[in-house]
């Protein structure tokens, strides 16, 4: 594998991950005339829920993105200049031009200091801080029409290497507390770019959902001396009714209390805190199970399923021993022509009402699996 880091016209970093060490040189200049990246991100503390919320008002004016023949994630060819200056690539990562979180130099007025003016007092009910962190785009392939589920296993493995690299790098940035690798797919969840890609958010706090999971894991360990997620995985394996797929190193199942009509969690059999902690065999083996799960999902209703695919990694600094790396993939589609909406119960009270039993969902996904 070869890694090449360079810069876009406006100073953003772009990193090429090539499977072959003899791939063409990717250090191609970006000839576009781009204005400077401007970000006005801040995070605000919601005292009523004890959670941080990001306010990113510069994003409201972000461009809605162009038709396929002007895809900004395809490589640059001829007069078609995109976000990727090179003529081709395997996997490429670059900083988002409309980031929710950005480097301190981009979000901080020159004379301000994080935690200084705002939020210094714990009694301050309206604590505010600059939205320090980083947001990146990960293109899985230069082929506009190949979803990750249809890429060869070696390419998925290269995507894993990119995630590992970014997790390590972003974890070293000042103020970054958690690195989140994810993919949003489908217009039904607001995705406007068809090109196969994911995103990475480096947050300046431990996210609310992760914190709740780690709090539950802490209570479980105090009670049992065991890891909550390892116990859940063992219980799912023992029960068996919700297992969707498994391989030497990975297990995919619908959780017993699934919130979404389609929801699959993929755990490594060995407890590790994050992607960099996976060994070579686990990284190789991931492509097999992930492609199989995504293909079964697409077969469910015989259409490309809109989904969110979310890597749960340990925070950078705290509770790493309580965490258990896993991937949660879920969809808002509850039938070929019906969406699950988050209405009053879900959005107002946090109570999910799932119309599909997890056992039915697992059986449907097993039936939709492709023979390999």
């Amino acid at each position: 594998m070869r890694r090449t880091s360079t810069r876009l016209a406006d100073g953003r970093e772009i990193i090429y991950f090539d499977a072959s060490d003899t791939a063409p040189d990717r250090r191609v200049a970006d000839p576009r005339d781009l204005g400077p990246v401007s970000t006005a991100s801040e995070i605000r503390y919601d005292a009523a829920l004890d959670e941080w919320v990001a306010i990113a008002s510069h994003r409201q004016g972000r461009t809605h993105l162009p038709p396929t023949d002007e895809c900004p994630l395809c490589p640059s060819r001829g007069d078609h200049r995109t976000e990727v200056p090179a003529e081709n690539y395997d996997v490429v990562v670059f900083e988002n031009r409309f980031p929710s979180f950005a480097a301190a130099r981009d979000v901080l007025p020159e004379d301000s200091v994080p935690g200084g003016e705002h939020g210094a007092s714990p009694a301050d009910l309206f604590a505010r801080r600059p939205g320090i962190g980083r947001c990146e785009v990960v293109c899985f392939t230069s082929d506009h029409d190949s979803p990750i589920s249809r890429l060869p296993p070696e390419r998925v493995r290269l995507v894993v290497e990119a995630w590992v690299d970014r997790t390590c790098e972003l974890s070293r940035l000042p103020h970054v507390e958690q690195v989140f690798c994810f993919e949003n797919r489908g217009e039904e969840i607001g995705v406007t770019l068809g090109h196969p890609h994911g995103q990475i958010y480096a947050y300046p706090f431990v996210t609310p959902r992760t914190r709740r999971m780690l709090d539950a894991a802490r209570r479980h360990r105090e009670r049992t001396w065991r890891n909550l997620f390892a116990d859940l995985l063992a219980a799912e394996l023992a029960d068996g009714s919700r297992i969707v797929n498994s391989s030497e190193h990975w297990v995919a199942f619908v959780p017993a209390a699934a919130r979404w009509p389609v929801e699959v969690h993929i755990y490594p059999r060995r407890q590790v805190p994050d992607l960099p902690a996976l060994d070579e065999a686990e990284r190789d083996d991931f492509a097999r199970i992930y492609r199989a799960v995504l293909r079964a999902m697409d077969n469910l209703y015989d259409l490309p399923l809109p989904y969110i695919s979310a890597w749960h990694q340990a925070p950078v600094r705290i509770d790493r021993d309580l965490a258990y790396l896993h991937l949660e993939v879920f969809s808002v589609k509850r039938a070929a022509n019906k969406l699950k909406f988050l209405a009053g119960s879900e959005s107002g009270m946090g109570v999910f009402i799932n119309d599909v039993t997890p056992e039915q969902a697992a059986a449907s996904l097993r039936a939709a699996a492709e023979s390999t």
Copy 2:
């Protein structure tokens, strides 16, 4: 006010709230031939997040609802038989035919006991219980085309009386721990019935979002001896920049850490745990501020705004002194033609990214207010 309780053809309760004691008798028989209500609701404990999730598989087959001239929430007239047998009504409440939660007699096999077979052991990672509770529909008016914001204040006051009545009644049901009055409006959040109506869920647990708020309020009280929500209201009033509207007894503001592009919280100036605790003057005064806030929202983009309107009431039994009744109204519309989607960051990690600053949102809502 006159209250009339009777039954629909399948045994569900229907309750008419009439402003006048001399309204026509509402005890009209329901001539429809309805099969029995069948529910297969259960709640499952998600150990990874320490939350209950409802699984309501009978709802997957629920009817998608008919065109306007067959509206099931209009009164029954001539051959058009609806969910409301009477020829007219002011406000009417009835049990949902496809409930997420239902009475023990409807969800329990005859020989099972809540908490018996399932979930007896706290170590059980897959605890399950029957989905005991109740789900009701609240029709605000018999006029199909009058949203609650356009009803006369006396009618909104009657809706408040219905909410109060239902909160009292439902709080007395076995296993009910929290009563949630809400309205979903707009196709953008999945509402298929245009008739102005809300819903009430009586949950068999304290909801996750309420529990988080009460936990935050408990920590605040331990630290300060004061109520968190009263302090937040006072801080908003002192700051002033996010106040949208106020009246003698109520204050409406955009919270400092708003999650949604349009989000307004409406608090009574006096701390009360729930709707039944409001006094006469507060109940009267609510209509004024609520109608003003909703009308400003409709004026924002010059179209009926899709929204979720969610009453936060104290749980039935616990932490009632920590709670502070308030209404949260929010919308997924971030521009006339753009929706906010809950994608990876929101759904995967619980981190909301709001593209509109709360101060901008409040200024827009103030500018959109109608002179009265």
